[in-house]
Amino acid sequence: MFLQQVINSLMIGSLYALTAMGATLIYGILGILDIANAGAYLLGAYVGYYVYQATGQLILAFLIAMTAIGLFGVILHRAVYGPILAKPRMLSIIPLVAAVGLFTLSSDAVRLLCGAGTKAYNFRFSTDVLHLGSVSIQTTWVLIFALTALLLAVLWFILNKTKMGLAWRATAEDPDIAKACGVNTNSAMALSYVLGYGFAAAAGIMTGILYNSITPALGEVPSYKMLAIIVLGGLGNPLGTVVAGLIIGFAEVMLSTYTQIPIPKDAIAFVVLIIVLLIKPAGLFGQRNKV
């Protein structure tokens, strides 16, 4: 029983980590809390759905959705975020309002274009559930866990082993200095959006497969929960986000299984967040005094 819960937590936690990774990458470079990333998650789930229904190829659905939404992110950055951030003396709350507007816009556009009803991916393996001793795991969970691990490994490789990744890390450290050293900060920002929105799209498709239903309201819970996760991980720290996603996954599964707290599952992330911030004001893996 307990082992089963541990595995459930691990699965949910890894999906959370992937969902929040996009917002982390964008925060790392641009320093904005991109709630609109949940819009990319929703759009990704729908694009993936239509591609999968048309072709029957899940891999193709992932590739097309991630590329399309990633490019969409770059356009969004050029058209909306870039000009807003370029304005001098801007209040920190302004980009957040833009992100909320974009998120509302994308959810409602999906509702109007694709209908308010639920759609089912109907993706199935030949065996539904794997039994390992007393523990049983859904096959789709295994797929999602493997894909998440793969995507995170690819991300780690891009950020740490490629020249692009080096430019990204330099820009995240200090955009002005990076620019002075000849780093193309614009392409680093574009990379943030391609990866950030692409990852969100992938997470959307996985959620769609897992719960076998997508609705235009799919992005609502992730829109705030991903914020809690990226803050817990120290804002803009990819490794911290993975750990924070797992922590929230464990906290949700364990608290709702073994205790009787009068708080719904989706609010637990924020209870954990508030407690952690009171003890460590810069998040679990944040640098202090980085003003």
């Binding site: 924020f270 004001p281 810069a282």
Partner: protein
């Protein structure tokens, strides 16, 4: 005025109070407050429980709910001292969600059934939309006068300096922490007052009345109108209360228009419709400036 106008007017008036109070925290002190509806709700439930369960007079209950929300605001102010802008924004979002979850699950707040409130009487008359409208309007006028006075006082100037550069303000010997906590107390206490009026006017409240969406709505009012001014939040609150009524024929596209409006405003007019430095205000100033210059020329 007809009953319909009073009904929308009363709603608009309550949102003007909320927008003005959020503007004190976000506009004047520059603190990222994303969970204003939590304090709105806290005031609403406190006042409702006081009048319904304990039989407290409506106006006394309003004062007490201001005290309660102000005290919670002080707590948030203390927390805000430890957190940087983005962390504070998310913490306040979190407070909003946790608060709504508590409203929805505690027995004292009626759980998911909400609370039903008997409308109070004023001079023997049962208060309706008309009375609530005038009461809130008076409060708005008083609040505006107080804000004007505050802006010219030492407190207001200290806030402006903190908003410009907290580090520099501290080096001038301004007690940043004290003023920051004070703005949180004032802003949240007024939100609590608005909540108390809201619950007694509606006659029924439930947790979803104070959801995160409402916080965003209040924030949008402040940003669309013009952050950091008095006229801005008032215009923003009026626009966003009346716009849905006007757009009723296009009910299906309401959220779409709302989202698009937010993005376009922030993208092209980040200082709001009639905020300081907005194209509209600068244009008007130029126009009046020209007129005055002409008059001056004639005199000379």
């Amino acid at each position: 005025m007809g009953a319909y106008v009073y009904s929308i007017g009363a709603t608009a008036a309550i949102f003007i109070l909320l927008a003005l109070s959020l503007n004190i925290i976000t506009g004047y002190a520059g603190q990222a407050m994303m969970g204003h509806a939590a304090f709105f709700g806290l005031g609403a439930y406190t006042a409702a429980i006081l009048t319904q369960t304990y039989g407290v007079n409506f106006f006394v209950a309003l004062l007490l709910s201001m005290l309660v929300t102000g005290a919670c605001g002080a707590l948030l102010g203390l927390i805000s001292l430890r957190l940087q802008a983005d962390f504070l924004a998310i913490t306040t979002i979190g407070i909003n969600f946790v608060m709504v979850a508590l409203f929805n699950n505690l027995s004292i707040t009626g759980g998911s059934l909400g609370l039903t409130i008997v409308k109070p009487t004023l001079f023997g008359v049962k208060m309706g939309n008309r009375q609530f409208f005038w009461l809130t309007l008076i409060l708005i006028v008083v609040l505006c006068l107080l804000i004007v006075k505050m802006r010219r006082s030492w407190f207001g100037m200290a806030l402006a300096s903190i908003n410009n550069d907290a580090g520099a303000a501290r080096s001038f010997g301004i007690d940043v922490s004290r003023y920051q906590i004070l703005t949180f107390i004032i802003g949240t206490a007024i939100a609590g007052l608005a909540g108390g009026i809201y619950s007694h006017r509606m006659g029924y409240i439930c947790s979803s009345d104070f959801a995160f969406v409402i916080s965003i709505q209040i924030l949008s009012m402040v940003v669309i109108g013009g952050i950091g001014t008095i006229r801005g939040p008032i215009l923003g609150a009026l626009l966003l209360t009346f716009l849905p009524e006007v757009l009723r024929f296009a009910d299906d596209y309401r959220s779409l228009v709302y989202g698009a409006l937010l993005v376009l405003m922030v993208r092209f007019m980040p200082s709001g419709l009639i905020g300081d430095n907005s194209p509209l205000v600068i244009g008007c100033k130029k126009l009046t400036g020209k007129l005055f210059a002409k008059k001056g020329g004639q005199k000379a």
